[in-house]
């Protein structure tokens, strides 16, 4: 969202804009270092399904035992089977971020994740973010309310997941606006709340709004 703003289509057509480019595009982004692809998800040597198969994982600090077929996504399992409807379904194709949850602390699109991928893992949804905080809301959640960082609210659970992970990476220190924009660059907001989300993250990092 931010780093590539040195380049414009109009500039490319006119043959200018390369000077700003030299200055503006040099910094690489710093995404989370490890993806889930690095850790084998579960015990190898086993075949599951095609029918329902037992599945255990931790959801918002609680052990969950259920039974779903391999074809069930994590998103549908959360919403339809475990009644955890805070996580939203919009595109169901990995393109909007409404369905984001934390898997072992990493933001992940639950619509492109199979439920069985999280066997033995810790999953945190928006419902779990307030645990242990005054009034059942984390400082980030309170800052979202205070800074008016939501309108219809459909993107908000995913926004909160991305921003919670960002604040965990910075150890609570205030991230730059660029870092916040990068962190939410997978969260589509049709209401255009982005500037308020950036303000909310900054104020949450500044000591609970």
């Amino acid at each position: 969202m931010s780093k590539r703003s040195g380049i414009t289509r109009r500039g490319l057509f006119r043959g200018i804009g390369t000077a700003t480019l030299v200055a503006g595009c040099a910094t690489p982004k710093a995404p989370p270092p490890e993806g889930p692809a690095q850790t084998p998800p579960v015990t190898p040597g086993v075949t599951l399904g095609p029918g329902p198969a037992p599945l255990q994982f931790e959801l918002n600090g609680q052990a969950v035992t259920t039974e779903v077929p391999p074809s069930a996504t994590l998103l549908d399992t959360l919403r339809l089977r475990l009644d955890a409807t805070g996580t939203k379904k919009v595109c169901d194709r990995g393109s909007c971020g409404a369905c984001m949850v934390l898997v072992d602390g990493q933001p992940q699109n639950s619509c492109m994740t199979l439920a069985h991928d999280v066997a033995g893992r810790k999953v945190t949804t928006v419902e779990g973010l307030g645990a242990g905080h005054d009034g059942g809301q984390s400082p980030l959640q309170r800052a979202f309310v205070e800074r008016d960082a939501l309108q219809c609210g459909f993107c908000t659970p995913g926004m909160l997941i991305s921003c919670t992970a960002l604040l965990a990476r910075t150890g609570g220190a205030a991230p730059s606006a660029d870092a916040i924009q990068d962190a939410i660059s997978g969260n589509l907001c049709r209401c255009g709340t982005y500037p308020h989300v950036v303000a909310a993250v900054k104020s949450a990092a500044g000591g609970g709004a």
């Binding site: 030299v22 993806g35 997978g186």
Partner: protein
């Protein structure tokens, strides 16, 4: 999605055996493209074979440089890892920048190098379950007389897709090779991995059924080698490139000794702009030279009715990446 079993092999041999056991058994890496195709009804596997549970092939997860300076990148390395690879120097900047520009942060942490190279095209006619075009065994291409604003301007016909892989452009510029595990192990220059529509419009890569891409290797850099990548998109995140360019240049005592210019999202295969490369080699970097190379990059372009805009766009990207890689300030 149609019900399927999930096979979790412990070894590469078990994975290969499971994939070859039936034609409806499909290998899953990050699953980003595969699950999309399954939800659309384009792929209907009876079993997914997990590459991520294979534990006897460390090469699959490697991100390492050998004593001679050649890089080995495992098929399961994620785009997020490549984007964060601070150990890549100026010579591999194109790969780091390409990986960091594709998709979104959370998709990049699922998507793998191997899956990115082997994903299917995004042509919206192809992606529609009920449409049967040439690529799906039909009689003709629906894009030629349809909405082809995102389609090919170079090397098109009889299918006019653009190759979807962002990493492919960077790896083509970097002269990478791919290693495949199959009945016999083999290695190919990355350019030979891809199949153009004139040869076979129904496929985009040359893997035999059951073959597994294990890793990508990049030869050691020459002194003075630098690379760069740029893309233009309608939206700055989430979106696919309208065009993308990776360049790899080696400058020795003020003269360009070697040049690779690779174009993405303008042709059915990752496309080498050989006329642009020829214009650069043996010359001294200058804004005028870059202008000539940029003009040469789209030589031979045959746009369809609605995508000629990609010609000036691609030239602009070639100019921008070359200015950066050659450290030539812009005249503007």
């Amino acid at each position: 999605m149609k019900p399927f079993s999930l096979i979790r092999p412990a070894s590469l041999d078990e994975a290969r055996a499971a994939v070859t056991a039936a034609p409806e058994h499909v290998l899953r890496a990050g699953g980003v493209d595969l699950i999309d195709q399954m939800k659309e009804g384009l792929a209907r596997p009876s079993a997914l074979v997990e590459l991520r549970t294979v534990s006897d092939a460390p090469a699959l997860r490697e991100l390492a440089r050998d004593g001679d300076g050649a890089w080995s990148l495992g098929a399961l390395v994620t785009l997020a890892q490549l984007a964060a690879a601070s150990e890549f120097g100026a010579e591999l900047a194109a790969l780091r920048e390409a990986a960091g520009s594709a998709a979104t942060p959370s998709i990049r942490s699922m998507a793998t190098l191997g899956g990115n190279l082997l994903q299917r095209p995004r042509c919206w006619y192809y992606r529609h379950a009920e449409l049967v075009c040439l690529k799906k065994g039909g009689s003709h291409c629906l894009a030629i007389n349809g909405d082809h604003r995102y389609h090919a301007i170079l090397g098109g016909g009889p299918s006019w897709i653009v190759h979807p892989s962002t990493l492919a452009s960077a790896l083509l510029a970097l002269d990478a090779r791919v290693e495949l595990a199959g009945a016999e192990a083999r290695a190919l220059p990355i350019a030979e991995l891809f199949v153009g529509p004139k040869e076979d419009a129904t496929r985009e890569h040359r893997l035999a059924p059951g073959e597994i891409l294990t890793r990508v290797t990049i030869p050691a850099a020459a002194p003075g080698q630098r690379s760069a990548y740029e893309a233009v998109k309608e939206k700055q995140s989430h979106d696919w490139p309208l065009a993308e360019v990776a360049v790899n240049v080696t400058v020795e005592s003020g003269t360009i000794k070697a040049a690779r210019v690779a174009l993405g999202h303008v042709a059915p295969i990752p496309w080498r702009a050989e006329a642009a490369e020829a214009a650069l080699v043996g010359q001294q970097p200058s804004a005028a030279l870059i202008e000539r190379a940029a003009a040469a990059a789209t030589e031979g372009a045959k746009p369809l009715k609605r995508n000629a805009y990609k010609i000036p766009l691609t030239r602009g990207l070639v100019r921008a990446t070359l200015h950066r890689a050659l450290e030539v300030a812009s005249p503007a």
